[in-house]
Structures are given as structure tokens and as C-alpha cells.
Amino acid sequence: MSTFVYMTKCDGCGHCVDICPSDIMHIDPTTRRAVNIEPNMCWECYSCVKACPNEAIDARGYADFAPMGHSVRVLREEEKGTISWRIKFRNGTEKNFVSPITTKPWGEYIPKLAEADEPNQGEINSQILYSEPEGLNTKKELPTISKSSFKKGVYY
């Protein structure tokens, strides 16, 4: 499918332009509304559809293999932490799904490392990364192997 924009719903806010990973959602200078300028470089990732505050963007299955008359609609609600999907088949069959998108208030549990505990002296020369070895939850040191066991060639 490639995405397209409904003339009466789009207000030209540009959220889709801001988010599109393929840089194909642009504001049309004549209509001052969003348009997919390169449908054949659309991955149908739905980033623009999810970002649109006016439900103005939809997708129509790619012309070269998708018969018409279907729809896949989405509503992503960040405050509720959910995403809801409605799939309609060409023959009218309908399926609905809701999934969580996060388990925590947005961003609050991601550490700001500039303010976190500094690494210990000399740790830069070790093999451990931030939060390790504790973060591995193994109550052990980071695993390693002895170089004496290395074999060259066809031995495995």
C-alpha cells in the first residue's frame, strides 16, 4: 500500500513530514496539504498514519498486487499506552486488535547517564559495559574464554 492523504481532513500541520523515515511525505505548495511524493519508496510502515492528529492519512494496497476494497486503520494512543488496529477484508471480514506500546510513563525510567554514578577507576580498560556485570542478573562476572582453546581452520 502506499499512503495517501484526504483533502478534507488534512490541515497541513506537517507531523507526517517530520516523521516519515523515507522523506516522502511533503507539503504540496498548491494545496498546502500533505502528499506522498514517492509512493514507490513507501515501506507502508504507518509512521505517518500513526503521527497524523486528524486521521487524514490512510493506505491503499500497492496497485501492482493488492486488489481494492480493503483497509487497515490504526489508532496509537501514547497517554493510554496502547495501539488499536482494525482490519477490513475486501469481502467485508473484520478483525480488531489492541496491544500495549509501553509499560512505563513515557521516558521516565530511562536514565540520564550524565547524572548517574561514574564508572570506577580503570573500568574503561575492562570488558564490562554500563550496568554490568550486575545488569546481566547472573550474579557472576562477565563470561570470557581462554585463548589457548582457539583453533584455526576447519575444525568445527
Binding site: W43, S47, D64, T93, Y109, K112, Q127, L129, T138
Partner: protein, 620 residues
Amino acid sequence: MPKNKTVYENCDVLVVGGGMAGTGAAFEARHWGRDLKIICVEKANIDRSGAVAQGLYAINCYMGMQWGENQPEDHVRYARNDLMGLVREDLGYDMARHVDSTVHMFDEWGLPMMRNEKTGRYQREGKWQIMIHGESYKPIVAEAAKKSADKIYNRIMITHLLMDENKENRVGGAVGFNMRTGNYHVFRAKTVIVAAGGASHIFKPRAVGEGMGRTWYAPWSNGSAYALPIAVGAKMTQMENRIVLCRFKDGYGPVGAYFLHLKTYTQNANGENYEKKWYEQTKKLVGEYIDHHPTPTCLRNHAFIQEVMAGGGPIHMVTKEAFQDPHLETIGWENFLGMTVGQAVVWASQNIDPKYQNPELTTSEPYVMGSHATCSGAWVSGPEDLSPPEYFWGYNRMTTVEGLFGAGDTVGGSAHKFSSGSFTEGRLAAKAAVKYIQDQKAEDINVSENQCENFREIIYKPLENYKVGRNEITAGTVSPSYILPIQGLQRLQKIMDEYVGGISFNYMTNENTLKKGLELLDWLQEDLEHVGAEDYHQLMRAWELKHRTLTSQCVTEHTLFREETRWPGYYYRGDHMKLDDENWHCLTVSRRDPKTGKFSMEKMPVYHIIDDEEKKFAAS
């Protein structure tokens, strides 16, 4: 020459690409380098960029060491088996021993992990995969990068790396342009971590009309992961090891959860298990590798391709049994909605309800990447405690260019890292980059104004080509003096498809076609001096094409060098159809001389740092 502003930025750690690897690098760099200036540059918007832009329904690389599920050495055995023996085991082990701490952070940050109700552990999809509700996987890791980095630049395409003029073979930063403002951006940096994307769209895709963008791998992954290091003479490895995916037809919807969790299986049009039919034939090509368990991805592809060529298609996934369970049916659909919405659209449009109808599968066009069941990429140093001498030169994940690091799809040899492993590899590269700076290895770097100005001229040339050439013709897209990016892209795809083992030739190539392919690629490379871009968006497409073409040349050189068929099902060397362990149980390494543009090839040894005690053979 258009009047574009030049914006200068000096920093210590420059991360090119803000996907899974890039966000991991930006995040970790701050822990080790508290006072360093850390910048991340992204071609799109970091909140939805890279291969994980639309989400993921599984994390495909998690050991579960805390529950004794797997150890890093098990993952090394798994990855080398899947890649027919050839991986960098040091890099793989290193990624695997750290990946659990990465996943535990994702859990803490709010990524919804599914849990097994009985055990309380993460819900396993398969031995290595755990299931998630990952629609917001990318925005979550982007948030972590934003909290660590001094600045994130969105909508800037990095086109070239800058080189130090005081010390040979040392990196000095990168340049690019902003596709919104048109500004020219110069980043002078002490270290650069290339965490850009692998390459889709270098081989002709199966869909060539409006659906051209529905490749399995994201269309915005344009091979910058490779073109940037190749252009400055960094060594590359295993670039011939392209990947072909067996996926649901047209939408390329994922099959992992279907095979592993829903326990669906494949059959040919007559309802037969076709894989068994091709066992003897495959054994003649690859010997005992066909007996390994699990069957390597390429060999399963091989059986699929042979069966279709023999007229046994279409091949179907048998879903009708599993989908009678409403819980499994939900998983089957949410699996697509979480990472490949397009497959749901295809099924809705063609009234394919897998509860009542077994959906069709296909094999994809080839892709070049370093993080999936394949390991193309830069030849990098491993960690000090794990790497034999040929694999170690001071700093983990540093390429053969000093100060230039790689992570994710950029790094060759470390297969099966997927999203979590790519983020982990970004963390490893970032720590090493900070250490490199602390060790005073990045002193007295000189990137002259002259070097920056030269690149400025080169970068905007496609705009000039178009402006001048466009005045010669009345209207339309046909010009005698320039080609448009889409025209060049389709020419590249046709060359690669027909001469380097694409879908039209059932992945077949040989010395003669490869040599012809190289000749045609040379001419394309020359013609790309005349690519015309109408605006900044097309200028981005022009540079994407240039990066894809350089990547393709490297892929073709490697494919010519390796005189065997190591991975039947990924591609075939018709003139050397058998796997040849005697001569080719080695890694291929290339270097392109930046002055002459010529590639040189060498063999590097494969070290097996893990024994094969756990090797299991398939029952049949």
C-alpha cells in the same frame, strides 16, 4: 553553485545513523565519556528511523543467562552453523555475552515484554527469540539516545567521511547535507562510529511498480554502512554473503513466530514436505552441512528454490491448524501489525484469512546486511580478551581506519545480532571510541578547510547537473546529459539482478557474468557523475544511489573472489557449485584503494574459539 550555508560542529564522538546500533552507541558513550561532546546524525527522524522504524514483535537475540537458558558459546555455535561455518566467533561471543544486559534495560525502560505465565520468564518464541509488544521499540531507544547525546541532528544525510591530514589513515569526521534546509554540514570529530543501514534495493525487487518500496528490508537502508568505510579504504569482509529471505508472498511478512511459536510448517502445492525431497541433492553440494541442526537458513531456501524451479509451487505455510486457537490467531496477526503492516494489507486485500486458507510464501530478492542471518560488513578489531592476533588491533569494533568504528549492519562477521545485538554492538563501539580518545590517540587531527570545500562541491553537483541539463530539453524525464536517481537505481538493480545472482536468474551467477557485471557497474559509476537532482529530496536519492553502487561493486568483487558456492539458497556460483572447505574455509577481505578505486582481495583465517561439543545432528 547554490548558496547553501555551511554549518560547522566539532565533537569527540560522532555517531552516523540513529537506528538500533546508533542509539546504543550514543547512549553508552555518555557513561564512559562524561565530559565528551557526543553527536548523533540521522538521515530521517531518530524516533522512527532504521530497520526498526515500524516496530518489532520479537527480540531475536537474547541468551537468558540468568535462567541458564543459553550461554554465549551456544550462540556462537548457532551462528556459525547457520552461516555454514564462517563467522567471526570473537565478535559473536562478545556481542552475546553483553546482549542480556541490553535487553534488561529495554525492559526497565518500558518496552512491553511478554512473559510466560508459568515460569515468569520472558516468553520464548524460539531458542533465541523472546516476544515483545514492540510497536514503540524505536521511540523508546531513541529517547535513551536523546538523553545521552549533546545533540541529535535529524534529516542530515552523511555522504562522506573526512580524513585527518596530519596522520595517514586516520578519520577526522564526516560531512553531509540537510535535506530540508539544504545546508552543508561539517562535523569535525575525534572518532566516528558508522552505525548506518545495510543495503536494500541493490538487486531488482520482485515488486517493481508502485509496490517497489515493499522490500523485506527497509527501502531507506541504502548501504551507507558500507559505502562510507569503503570510500576511505577500510577493509571489508564477507560482502558476498548476501541474504535471501523466505517470507509471506508480496508483503514479506515475517515467518519466525509462525514457525517457532505457532508451529506452522511449509508444504508444496501437493501437500508434500518438499524439504526432504532435496536432501540428497543438497548433500552432494555441501556435504555434511545439510545434517547440521538446525538446518542452515540458506539450505532451507535452497530446497524452496529447487522445488519451485521443479514446478512444485506455490509453497504454502500451513496455518489452518494453528489458527483455530484464537490466542495463536491473535499472535499471528499482531505479529504483522507490530512489524510488517503491509502483510496484513495484502491479506486483507486478497481475502486471505489464514484460519481458512494456507498463505503463500516466496523467496525475496537479495539484501546486503550484517545483523541478520548474514554477516557482510567492515573488518573490525575484536575485544582484547577474545581475539587472536589477526583479529585484534587495539580497539574493539574499530575498522582498519584509525578512529573509525562500526556497529550493527556496518560490522562484518558478527551474524545473528538483530536489534538487541546491534544496540549492544553500538555500546561496545562507543566504549572503545571513548577509550581511544582517553588514550590520546586522537590528538592533532587536521581537517583543512580545503578538504571540506572539495566535498561541498562534490555533494551539490547533482543539483547543478540538473539545472544545466534541464534547460536543454522541453519537458519530461529524458535528457542526453543527466540521469535521474530512479533511472540510475533501476539500472543498478538490473545489473545486479542479471549478473550478480538476483531473482530473475534464480540467484545464479558465475565468473563470466560477474566480470560483465563489474564492467557495467564501472560505467554506471562514471555516469553517476552526471546524476541530476531536481531538489534536496532528489539530492538525497542521488547520494543513496551512489552509496548503493559502491556497495554493489564491493559485493560483486567479493562474489568473484570466492570460487565456491558456500551458501546455496543465497546465491550460486554456477562454475563452482560445490562448497569447498579445503580452499575456502576462510573469510574474504577486500580493500578499495581510495586513490585508484581498485579493489584488492585477500583470505583471512577463520578461528574457531568455541569447540563443537554441543554439536547436534538432525534426526533424519
